[in-house]
Symmetry: C2
Subunit: 227 residues, 2 copies
């Protein structure tokens, strides 16, 4: 590119490999679940692991996370946020691998793992009973879960876990499932409505054997960026 810059050659350094790993959380059957894939290679061949892989030389970290998730699971167009970088020299028994972890959230939607070629190799697990995983992925999951729970309190991150339109009871369940605790209905509604993030859509649930519920949507579908 610029010839003057070429005189310095960084290849003289031993370089670690760099991967991205994605923690995709979603709610299925009233449980918070995380997506894991079965490894097809050593080390830990056959073990469950976070979807992820090597960062390519010309893509950003965000792009790598997005690509790996899509390649391994068919999931795309979802919320992604960088979490933390894990770099213990022993975390991979082969060689030095540094991994940048990402938090991804999705409402249980149209995408189905079955539609993807490698579907049989990916599955959702309740965060309450994750299997043994490859590498240090268990501690990465723990870290991501803590972050998710924290951010729920001071951001609008929950919008990524509900469909376009939802009732307040739906939204409350998302909070209860993630935080693993019950919430007072009146206080929840007061707070969430006072936040000004929601708008009533005007339509209501239909065909229920009880009082219909108002649908709401998020005013802004972008996650507020805060740390």
């Amino acid at each position: 590119m610029n010839t003057k810059l070429e005189q310095y050659d960084p290849s003289i350094y031993d370089r670690p490999s760099v991967t991205v790993d994605v923690l995709l959380f979603t709610i299925i059957d009233r449980e918070l679940k995380i997506l894991l894939v079965r490894r097809k290679e050593e080390p830990f061949m056959g073990s469950w692991a976070l979807p992820g892989g090597f960062v390519r030389i010309n893509e950003s970290l965000d792009e790598a996370a997005k690509r790996e998730l899509q390649e391994e699971t068919g999931v795309k167009d979802i919320y992604l946020e960088q979490l933390y970088t894990f770099g213990n020299p022993k975390r991979d028994p082969r060689t030095r691998v540094i991994t940048v972890s990402y938090l991804a959230l999705s409402a249980e939607k149209q995408w189905l793992l079955e539609s993807h070629g490698d579907a049989s190799e990916a599955a959702f697990f309740s965060v309450k009973e994750t299997p043994r995983t490859a590498f240090d992925h268990e501690s990465i999951i723990k870290y991501g879960l803590d972050r998710l729970r924290n951010k729920l309190g001071y951001t609008n991150i929950s919008l990524s876990l509900v469909p376009e339109s939802f009732t307040l009871t739906d939204l409350q369940k998302v909070y209860e499932i993630i935080l693993d605790e019950t919430i007072d209905k009146r206080n929840f509604r007061k707070k969430i409505l006072a936040s000004g993030l929601l708008l009533p859509t005007g339509s209501k649930t239909d065909g229920t054997a009880h009082r219909p519920a108002m649908f709401y949507r998020f005013k802004n579908r972008e996650v507020i960026i805060t740390d």
Copy 2:
């Protein structure tokens, strides 16, 4: 190590280089300052940059940050926390370099840059007037500064910026300088004392031409880990 694991060779992937960069903030002359070093190599030779360098193959990221800071500036034994990993493919004009940034805090203390061999190549700059820097270091600094300001509000991170023993006025100044705003004295004292983080030492300032002030110290010298 384990022969079975060796059959998979990750070296077939093009690997990016990985560096750490440290944002060392400290308060000098009533200003929040950041430590920069002058680059001795291309690219950006002669420019100011964050202290940092390549991660070695057998050290953790935290260790690399600690080592680089010590090597380049002589500073050691200070608070360090991982911030964020920057991996835009174009951020380094030579080749692909991913950098893991760290936040470091120190009370202005005994360590002096002059005592270190390369002292003339390191200097503190007010965050209000940082010079042009190499790479994307300006945006990294901005990110770190935001994080520092945020964490000041909900952690005891300020303990890293005051000496063992200090007056409430001293501590208030730390907050005012970092946040770049004045704080009501009564409200600050009420809040900080109510937090339960401080203990009066029993001794007072001495030899001032006015009422002496009580010294306090932090109950716990460890930074509470929160995100």
